[in-house]
Point group: C2
Chain length 143, copies 2
DNA sequence: ATTGTATCGGTTGTATACAATTTAATTGTT
DNA sequence: AACAATTAAATTGTATACAACCGATACAAT
């Protein structure tokens, strides 16, 4: 049908601006994160650990929508930088527990300015940002 | 300051749901795109070509927010599948023109159902989807 | 005409993402 | 206890993304 083909136009797709916008915003983080020697994926792992200090790979994955195939190399890299430790749980040897080092904890202070700098890069009004936020979480909620 | 550290919490970040939502939605496309033997990146290239039929790599990149480092292998892969041809422009030998084959054109019919199937996977009301769409493009507009 | 500059696409290197599989450890059932 | 089913993380393979760089072509200004 004609309407179906009309929906195939890029400008009629909701997914595309979502995909493009996410990529562009992550790209805007790079200069700020470079100063901390972190990638965006490493940064969001640190965000979780700054809140909770110790988490299993599985719990990190649930929180961040990432699986072990992505997390394992990221965590090894953060371990190599000295920001966290990886050790097996005593209670369940299958579980790998990730915990911040003092250096990883200390990095939080250096990261504190990043959200402010980033929001300065986003042209949305606070009300618009709030609406966007809530719509995105509504979508995420069903996954 | 305390407020700065508060902003570091994952739940206070706008970028994270954007990043996670984009990934999850693209992942939802996979079963539908598998039937066409396309990845999401290949799919959005085809979306542009179904609209315009012939484009340079540079123009494709501007439209899709992708550079030649990403597009070159994607376009070679689509050429290998027989969906498009790659040839240098006569007028300017630097420019590579990408054009659909008949098979690539024909694929459009098979793709026609995808947007409908995908919107069934998204729990937003039409009005919410429209708001999300316009906020995302507002952000993209400044990049 | 020549030379410096800009543009285009390709290549290289690094870092994700994710499906599928594998291995080790745990749990559930009989 | 024995064994099947489940779970957690790691590994493998494929496909992006993007920065940085490269080589060829085109353009600009003298």
């Amino acid at each position: 049908m004609m309407e179906d083909l009309e929906q195939l136009k890029l400008k009629n797709q909701l997914c595309f601006p979502l995909y493009a916008c996410a990529k562009e915003v992550v790209r805007r983080y790079r200069p700020f994160l470079d100063e901390l020697d972190l990638t965006y994926t490493q940064y969001i792992v640190m965000l979780v650990l700054w809140e909770e200090n110790e988490k299993s790979v599985h719990d990190l994955g649930e929180r961040l929508f990432l699986d072990s195939g992505t997390l394992t190399p990221v965590l090894k890299s953060l371990e190599a930088k000295g920001y966290l430790t990886r050790r097996r749980s005593k209670a369940d040897e299958r579980v790998l527990l990730v915990a911040l080092t003092d250096e990883g904890q200390a990095l939080k202070e250096s990261a504190a300015e990043i959200p402010k700098k980033m929001s300065a890069c986003v042209a949305l009004e606070p009300q618009e940002a709030a609406t966007l936020y809530s719509l995105l979480y509504k979508m995420l909620g069903q996954f």
